[in-house]
Amino acid sequence: MSKTLHLSDSPAPLVVTGAGGWLGRALSSHIVANAQSLGISRYVALVRTNEEKKLLEAELVGISTVKSDIRLCDVTSTDAINSVLVDLNPDNESSFDLIHTAGIIHPKKIQDLYQVNEVGTRNIMKFALDHHARKVVHVSSNSPFGNNPHSKDLFRSIEPFNPYMAYGESKMRGEIAVQEAVSQGLHAVIVRPPWFYGPFQPPRQTTFFSMVKAGRFPVFGDGSQHRSMVFIDNLVDGVFRARQWTGEPGKGWWIADQTPYRVSEIVSLVGQALRDEGHDVKTNRLRIPNIVGSFAETADALIQKTGRYVQQVHVLGEMNKTIACDISASTSELGYIPQTSLYEGMRQSIRWCAEQGNEL
């Protein structure tokens, strides 16, 4: 049974952390273009660097339908948060909503994961609690839950924590920080996207297309591992549906496509999307035995123990895992139904890369 509130009836300011990131930029574009229907009276975007600020300003110019300002804020500092958002709810009488997307997945050093994903989340939740936020949506990940023990298994909306490596641990601690704030009275909920893709993607995702195009994307074994995926527009939709949740706080939902895909199916479908966008695609030939994945996983763990992080080793160590989720609770409780298919989403992503001048 859906318990949603039509927030357009009671507009409020909205703060988005990590607004200069991949998801943050997609959310920002959606917010400023649809503020009225989303019930947003004012938009405050928090970004980490000046470069992000300039980029976001350029992206939002001309499409904004609401008073927006983009502010530099380091979420790892409570002082910075309090000072940057001092005008948001000074008398604690009005209210605001907050979407917390700020996070780091591929850090320079492991400590950064905890600093941003755990400490940053705790700081933001404390601010939201202290300043009587109306609704908070925290964007988490599949990593606090590890990977599925069987290729046919699906994560349900309630799962025990089983974090994968330091990133999973840091995102788990972030979720725990949210739950602690909920127990103190904050109306916060959690959305958990698995592998997402789409416009605003960082360079590593462009590399993904390039590798598929060159027939060199590493597929483990027979490619029968399953992966849930979500197009970024579908994820944005899921985030706003979670914001409208008026039921029990502290709940978490998977936001993904209806069913997971075999990795071999993803590679083949992306290859088809590339061909249909006019690219010459070679047959994928890079089959990798699981022993290489197993080596990469243990190497990743050993590297992370020393506080270092090597992105490719981490990604390879995780590539032979099934990470799949069941979205039935998101559909029944939030009314979430993914609108863009994997094929169509991939075509849009490829076009976006072309528009940015990214050579595949």
Binding site: R216, P289, I291, V292, T298, V310
Partner: protein, 347 residues
């Protein structure tokens, strides 16, 4: 014609691998920091440093297969060289191979990445635990290989146990010299540690087979017929028939003495020697057998005998200062005195 690049192709194992590739009908290109004067007309030689990006980018052009055998071995005792050659050089090579569209890279690593294993046998996905600078550098080179795989390069890693075979000298040159002259070789402790070697021909065979196997992989390589260190040396002494017999030395004090001698530069020991000489280590090679249909031809005993016989036949040239570390006998230093002292021991 298939073009194969062998980096370090003028070293001990590299030159044997070159022979194998020529036999397979490849056009062979050799990159080595030093080249011997007796060059063959059917090999394309390039003298250069693996750390020189422009040279490496040039030599990988149009190569179908690249066999990376450049290594700064522990005997060199130069930590900067150890890291820059084994790590930086590997990175430059892998990046160049990716850009040039090389079909397959076969990277020769080392069993030193495992240090002293907590249990045997060691499998391809046993976690690495290097204990000294050489093992650490070779492990970091494997990490680079893993990164290259994630970036779409087809790289197979081969980790050989200690290599023997005709022409193999280095620290073994000293052992053979002692036994040839009737001096007594030593084991640490009772010498009952199980120790596996690999013949260079078997290693060349697995490298070749790995190059023909589509997709990245990791193979541990060693003979499947081996016993203890004491057994290996006793059989060799028997084969030599010079009256040498294997003596036991207390493991800890001897390891300490080896470290001190190395520190004082009076004996050619490297950390890997005093760490591993008394320890057991062997690979399970069924993975290589299953995937590559590879079976080692040489047992520990046979390869020791063959290496020793080669030494006897080529003893006069075994101190050639221009050869690579494993193609010349290491300088004995203080071990020369120890060798003479063993002759005073009661028979």
């Amino acid at each position: 014609m298939t073009i194969s690049l062998v980096t370090g192709g003028n070293g001990y194992f590299g030159s044997l691998l070159v022979d194998r590739l020529l036999n397979e009908g490849h056009h062979v290109r050799v990159l080595d920091i030093s080249l011997s004067t007796d060059r063959r007309a059917d090999i394309e030689y390039i003298q250069g440093d693996i750390r020189n990006q422009s040279v490496v980018q040039q030599v990988v052009q149009k190569a179908d297969f690249v066999f990376n055998n450049v290594a700064q071995v522990p005997l060199a005792k130069d930590r900067t060289l150890l890291r820059t050659v084994n790590i930086d050089g590997t990175k430059i090579l892998l990046d160049s191979c990716l850009s040039a569209g090389v079909q397959k890279v076969v990277h020769t690593s080392s069993s030193a990445i495992f240090g002293v294993p907590t249990s045997n046998p060691v499998f391809p996905d046993t976690p690495a635990h290097p204990l000294e600078a050489y093992g650490q550098a070779k492990w970091e080179a494997e990490i680079l290989c893993t990164q290259a795989i994630a970036n779409g390069l087809d790289v197979s890693i081969i980790r050989p146990r200690t290599i023997l075979g005709h022409g193999r000298l280095g620290i073994f040159g000293i052992l053979f010299d002692w036994i040839a002259d009737g001096a007594d070789p030593f084991v640490l402790g009772n010498g009952n540690n199980r120790y596996q070697f690999i013949h260079a021909e078997d290693l060349a065979d697995i490298c070749w087979r790995a190059s023909q196997s589509l997709g990245p992989n990791i193979f541990n390589a060693g003979t499947d017929r081996f016993g203890t260190m004491r057994e290996a040396l006793e059989e060799l002494c028997l084969h030599a028939g010079t009256g040498s017999r294997v003596r036991s030395l207390p493991a800890r004090p001897t390891s300490l003495a080896m470290q001190v001698a190395a520190k004082l530069h009076i004996a050619p020991f490297a950390p890997y020697h005093w760490i591993m000489y008394s320890k057991s280590m062997w690979f399970d090679v069924s993975h290589a057998h299953d995937i590559l249909d590879w079976s080692p031809r040489w047992s520990n005993s046979d390869m020791f005998k063959q290496s020793y016989d080669w030494f006897l036949q080529n003893r006069a040239e075994s101190n050639n200062a221009d050869a690579s570390h494993h193609r010349r006998t290491a300088r004995q230093g203080a071990l020369g005195l120890v060798k003479r002292a063993t002759k005073l021991l009661p028979r």
